[in-house]
């Protein structure tokens, strides 16, 4: 209908720029760094970038799922940290094997997801507040078993004994091994999960319904969607992916470091939000999230190679995020 055509249809070049803007920026950044510092393009360095981004990307893919149902999960960083501590505790303090450690960590993550779902769906707590609450809860909880100390092989326990267990090499391989001596395992995990999340959101009816709930919960319910179940699902998946991220981190670090989960949540949220702008999606989406995470990691890697100071990193991330949000919400063609 003529009346609903935007009064100022943006010029084609502008539409294209908005559509492909972030991909272009990513390409430009790569070219720029390659020119300034040829070592940047070495295969080894490219995989360093991918490895550095893999854990954040896992968390960001999880939060993408909660954003798709119109929610938000702030507890992912805390859950990743908890998972790291949990796996370390099971292996180092209890002396159990890597498989129980992985399963217990993922299980604890799922429990936090259920708690989030319970608070949001059953108690009606707004998502940001509910997951902020569980974030604090989980950050505090993970400190209690060790009395607030990091877990390392051979550490002294509160009762004076020495810890009996250690990180098995199979577990450490999760974070440190390379396939064909080139591709780090975390990168493989990230790629697989990214494809799974993408297919889930874009190609299955479950993903379609998640987006419907995020867009108009009432309409989704009246169309017969079991809204509560889908919300639980999104929060549990988000927490489980965060746990997986925490496990990879534990495997890379080889110790249960109490402070190492901090900062993951902001990076992950930033990546997912930058993803809104990729290909003009204007909604949370798996591909965009991955591009968002990669863009930030590439910038940081290149700037570090060019000897930019480490304390400028957050400023760079913030700049990219703000620009991407302007792209998404300010410049994209309005439907009306």
């Amino acid at each position: 209908m003529p009346e609903s055509i935007s009064s100022n249809p943006p010029a084609t070049w502008l539409r294209l720029a908005i559509h492909y803007g972030l991909l272009l920026v990513l390409a430009l950044v790569v070219v720029l760094f390659a020119v300034l510092e040829p070592a940047f393009l070495r295969v080894g360095n490219l995989f360093i970038i991918l490895q550095s981004v893999s854990i954040v990307a896992l968390l960001a893919l999880g939060v993408t799922l909660t954003m798709a149902v119109g929610g938000l999960d702030l507890s992912i960083g805390a859950v990743a940290a908890m998972s790291l501590m949990c796996a370390s505790y099971v292996m180092v303090v209890l002396g159990w094997g890597p498989l129980p450690a992985v399963l217990i960590s993922l299980g604890c993550g799922a429990l936090v997801g259920l708690l989030n779902g319970f608070l949001i769906v059953r108690m009606g707590v707004p998502d940001i507040l509910a997951t902020l609450g569980s974030m604090f809860l989980v950050i505090g909880l993970q400190l209690i078993p060790t009395g607030g100390r990091s877990i390392a092989v051979g550490m002294t326990l509160p009762n004076g004994d020495e810890a009996i267990g250690s990180f098995s090499s199979a577990f450490l391989a999760l974070g440190r091994a390379r396939l064909w001596d080139t591709v780090p395992v975390p990168v493989v995990v990230m790629a697989v999960i990214a494809v799974l999340v993408w297919a889930f959101l874009e190609r299955t009816r479950f993903g379609r319904v998640l987006y419907a709930i995020g867009g108009n919960e009432r309409a989704a319910r009246l169309a017969g969607a079991p809204v509560q179940r889908y919300k639980f699902l999104a929060y549990v998946l988000s927490a489980v992916l965060a746990s997986l991220g925490g496990l990879l981190l534990a495997a890379r670090l080889g110790r249960g470091d109490v402070s190492s989960g901090n900062g993951l949540v902001l990076d992950a949220l930033g990546a997912a939000l930058i993803g809104f702008a990729v290909l003009g999606a204007r909604k949370p989406n798996a591909f965009g999230t991955l591009v968002g995470a990669l863009l930030v990691a590439t910038l940081l890697n290149g700037l570090t190679m060019l000897n930019a100071p480490y304390y400028a990193q957050d400023f760079v991330k913030g700049t990219v995020l703000v620009l991407a949000l302007m792209f998404t919400f300010g410049l994209a063609p309005k439907s009306r």
Binding site: M1, E3, S7, R205
Partner: protein
């Protein structure tokens, strides 16, 4: 330039284009103080654009716009407002702040004025709001939260607030869309008093009976041009011809074949204080449920669709007890409902036409959870064709479609499934007359294998669509009539609760006719 000196607003050769396509062309119009001018036109004829040009949301790009002898070109609604032109748009609800009280919403324009006082004074807000309400002889619960008001009262709040600006020209876009007949009458009373005060009113409505009641003259737009002007009393058929370019054949008359009983309600009581009632719906038959706003029509639908539990009584679907606990359960059992408010209840922002259409039946278009996109596209294309939906492809955004086409998508969604009972709550709301005819025809054409319940407040719509009409009053079905031989006046009397002499009203069991 030859302009009448007494006109408040005059346009000469006014035009507006979006990109390459002209939406308004060569509009010559004069608005005089103290008259109500009806603006007619099918969806897409340019009514909304004309209103937006007058009210400053769009600047015109051809011709001239004169306000009280001064040539103007508005760049914002604020400018138009200063020139005395104010519009109340179709979705009046958007002008309200949820959580604020009625009084605060009434004085919102003044609260938001630059240069007002720094401190918000609750007492002054109350006094000012009371004054605004008193000026219009409106009785509103000023202290109450705006959220506690029904949609009709909210509409009145928006209108009252607009009138507090004391406009010289008032544009009303579909003001009665969510009002019942008596509430609409209250609005007409208000409009009459404004007319006496010398306000010029531009009135847009799809309800021709409203226009006949209120308008001093009617201007018809077609394809962005003036297609005719009609003085009062409005010659409705001639105006329709001017609007549509051809007269409409009436919907197929004659009784449909009444099939097996699909749904039966016995002793259904919606609330503790309402009267119990019986009713039944049959296969192949289209039943209209009509009544005033707030009479309980939607509540009956909600009971059938699992959104509400009846206080008492039993329901049977195809002979089996029917007690759905959620819309999901209702849909699984074959009861479908297109709820009243399209954008609130059916549409998902960002969802394309195809996605909107297939949402309830995704399972049918997927295997192992994965969507079979070819099957989905084929089903959507079929509905688009059957319903005559005008669109530039199946993946267009819903908000680029006109109201009528949006409604067709919402209807088509439920025609995808093989339901036993289809409930359509106000399917003609905000839909132009041609789309209304097309939707009505599609409902009737597809009705053979199910029972159909259409809720409409407008008795004319009920008479147009239904084989049988049930009247709801005070949360109870109080009467039921077969369509053939039913007179409009009798129906209206029953809706309003005035017992007409020509009718013997039965309180119970009437619907089994």
């Amino acid at each position: 330039m030859n302009l009448p000196s007494t006109a408040l607003v005059s346009t000469r050769s006014l035009g507006k284009s979006f990109g390459a396509s002209p939406v308004l062309q060569g509009i010559d119009l004069d608005l005089y103080p103290g008259e109500v001018v009806a603006l007619l036109g099918a969806n897409g004829a340019g009514k909304s654009t004309l209103v937006k040009v007058l009210a400053g949301s769009h600047g015109h790009d051809a011709g001239e716009l004169w306000v009280q002898g001064r040539a103007v070109r508005f760049t914002s609604p604020h400018e138009a407002r200063r020139a005395g032109i104010v519009a109340v748009h179709q979705h009046a609800e958007e002008a309200l702040v949820p959580g604020f009280s009625v009084a605060e919403n009434l004085v919102l324009d003044e609260l938001c004025q630059p240069g007002g006082t720094l401190w918000s004074n609750p007492k002054r807000v109350q006094e000012r709001a009371a004054q605004i309400a008193a000026d219009l002889e409106l009785r509103l619960p000023l202290q109450a939260s705006i959220d506690s008001l029904g949609s009709a009262e909210r509409q009145l709040v928006v209108l009252a607030r607009t009138l507090a600006l004391q406009p010289k020209v008032l544009v009303l876009d579909e003001p009665t869309a969510s009002l019942s007949a008596s509430e609409a009458e209250r609005l007409f009373g208000l409009i009459d008093s404004l007319r006496e005060r010398g306000v010029a009113i531009v009135y847009i409505s799809h309800r021709l009976s409203d226009l006949a009641r209120i308008a001093d003259r009617a201007i018809v737009l077609r394809d962005g041009r003036l297609a005719g002007e009609f003085p009062a009393p409005l010659d409705v058929p001639a105006a329709l011809v001017a609007m549509l370019g051809s007269s409409l054949a009436p919907l197929v008359e004659g009784a449909a074949e009444q099939g097996a009983e699909v749904l039966r309600g016995r002793g259904v009581q919606l609330t503790a204080r309402s009267q119990p009632f019986d009713f039944s719906l049959h296969q192949g038959e289209v039943v209209a449920l009509t009544g005033l706003l707030g009479a309980g029509k939607t509540e009956i639908a909600e009971v059938l669709f699992g959104l509400r539990r009846p206080h008492a009584g039993t329901l049977d679907l195809d002979g089996q007890p029917w007690q759905p606990t959620s819309p999901r359960a209702a849909i699984a059992g074959g009861v479908f409902m297109a709820a009243e408010d399209r954008s609130r209840d059916s549409l998902v922002p960002g969802f394309s036409l195809a996605r909107t259409l297939t949402l309830p039946f995704m399972q049918r278009f997927s295997r192992g959870g994965f969507i079979r996109r070819d099957a989905e596209r084929a089903a959507v294309a079929e509905q688009v064709q059957h319903l005559g939906i005008k669109c530039e492809g199946l993946e267009v955004a819903m908000d680029t479609l006109s109201g009528g086409n949006q409604q067709k998508v919402v209807l088509g969604r439920w025609l995808l499934g093989n339901g036993r009972l289809l409930i359509l709550d106000e399917p003609f709301q905000g839909v132009d007359i041609r789309a209304r005819r097309e939707i009505g025809a599609r409902i009737r054409a597809s009705a053979g294998q199910r029972a159909t319940l259409v809720i409409c407040s407008d008795p004319d719509e009920a008479l147009e669509i239904a084989d049988r009409i049930l009247v709801v009053r005070d949360f109870s079905v109080v009467a039921g009539y077969p369509r053939p031989g039913l007179k409009r006046d009798d129906l209206v009397a029953q809706i309003a609760g005035i017992t007409a002499p020509s009718l013997t009203t039965q309180r119970q069991g009437v619907a089994c006719a």
